[in-house]
Amino acid sequence: MTMLSERQQMSYIAAQAADARLNVELETEGMTLNIGPQHPATHGTLRIIARLDGEQVVWAEPSAGYMHRGYEKLTEVRTFPQVTALINRIDWLGSFANEVPFILAAEQLMDIEAPPRAQHIRTILFELSRIANVSLFLGDLGVQMGAVTPVFMAFRDREYVLNLIEGATGGRFHPNFDRIGGLKDDLPKGWLDETRQVMKKLRNFCDEIEDLLFGNEIFQSRTRGIGVIPADVARQYGLSGANLRASGVDWDLRRDQSLPLAYDKVDFRVWTHPDGDSWARCWIRLQEVREATKIVDQLIETLPPGPVMTKVPRIIKVPEGEAWVSTENPLGEMGYYVVSKGDLGPFRVKIRSASFNNISITPWVLKGVYVPDIITILASLYFILGDIDR
């Protein structure tokens, strides 16, 4: 009688069992799993319907609309300055970034441009909202995988950024600070020094997160090679922002188009990653926070003097025309197609929000993944429900 080691014995038994299963041809029944609408990974109310075969997803479909507010219709009955209060609420974690493309579109139609100082401050606030938004993502990432500490760090350090935004605009989440022709106010005294300090803290935060989370073995094994989106598929589905760059497509609207913002005056690197997996998407965002702090630092040094508002009529009537302006928002490409008929309010506003496209890829990317990976993939795609439902 040959002696089997315990390990060999176990594998023998397992093989026997597998054979038995095959021979019997067990009838398996699919199962439908509902995730959400209320789930911490959904940043709002997104429902994912997944059909499972065992632990594997065979079909998945997100069901949006739990938060549809009909902004495109509501903009038609508001005046141009009033619209910014509305579109603030699209991506509520990076509110200021939502206002900028719309205001730029209106300015383009009116053929005016904000003064250089206003453009600089706009860009600073734009990047600050990116930092506030993405740093929360970085903390939240841990929670999706069972690590609680990063989210506390993220909330702690995001608070500094929110304080800055509040100091400058008066609003923590919904600044409503951007105006057609410039900004509501200039920066308060001492704000620039404080910003420098906070940017240092944020860079420390990035290092901490990188050590704590990205260096973590569990995190790596849950994200590396999971949810791979090849570059062609990413383009097909119109992904944008970090999700696109994580698939190796070098495309950043901050660099690749010229808008009256101050991005051409700063030096920053657009990171890409060839892998296209969850890890790459998270890593790109981490680098983006770092780059954003550097952009803010450079802009503070070169802040030009001057007014923050051009002369605009008190009652803003936007001349007839159409304009499309999109910017690189924290979540991806956010654009507004504004049609004006020369009235007080826009005739039609089409909102192209980043998460809408970013999340439309989920039926493709979730096919064949295992149940626990659904959450990490969704988390790494990073969407805000207000940005999907509008």
Binding site: A64, G65, H68, G70, E72, K73, L74, E76, V77, R78, T79, P81, Q82, A85, R179, I180, G181, K184, D232, V233, A234, R235, Q236, Y237, G238, L239, S240, L244, D250, W251, D256, Q257, M309, K311, V312, P313, R314, I315, I316, E320, G321, E322, W324, S326, E333, G335, Y337, V339, K341, L344, F347, R348, K350, I351, R352, F356, N357, S360, I361, D389
Partner: protein, 149 residues
């Protein structure tokens, strides 16, 4: 209609649909490029390699029963799927070749097409917009652009 997928075949597809019309049936102005129909379809495609974006615009003639249809873009841009669904429920434009034109946002039995101009915004009919005072001339400084709401 022949919607060839633009020479920028590998571009990403962008805010796909946009439709215009005039409520008072008085005069319909279709914007810069003009057109002949009440509804027009707009789509924007971007080439991420050559850094070019194009907005395409197409007339949408209504059939005798008032419906409109246009060819789906899904075979070219998979991401057009949701945009076409959204357009279908908001404007009532159907897409030939779309696999699944279910409503995205609205309940399945919703009647009407909310983003059409002749669809009333009920809240506004019931109660006039209080914010309209903001655009009336107010005794304020001249540099104030009149909006702080």
């Amino acid at each position: 209609m022949d919607w060839m997928p633009s020479p920028f075949g590998d571009g990403e597809n962008d805010p796909t649909e946009e439709v215009e019309e005039d409520p008072a049936a008085s005069e319909i102005r279709q914007g810069y490029t003009g057109g002949d129909t009440r509804f027009q379809m707009l789509a924007r495609v971007t080439d991420t390699r050559r850094h070019v974006s194009v907005t395409l615009k197409a007339d949408l003639p209504q059939h005798d029963d008032g419906t409109m249809s246009i060819e789906s873009w899904i075979p070219v841009y998979a991401g057009a799927n949701w945009h076409e669904r959204e357009t279908h429920e908001m404007f009532g434009i159907s897409f030939d070749g779309h696999p699944d034109l279910r409503n995205m946002y609205l309940p399945g039995d919703f009647e009407g097409y909310p983003l059409r101009k002749d669809f009333p915004l009920l809240a506004r009919l019931v109660k006039p917009w209080p914010g309209i005072v903001d655009v009336e001339p107010m005794p304020a400084s001249d540099d104030d652009e009149g909006d702080d709401s």
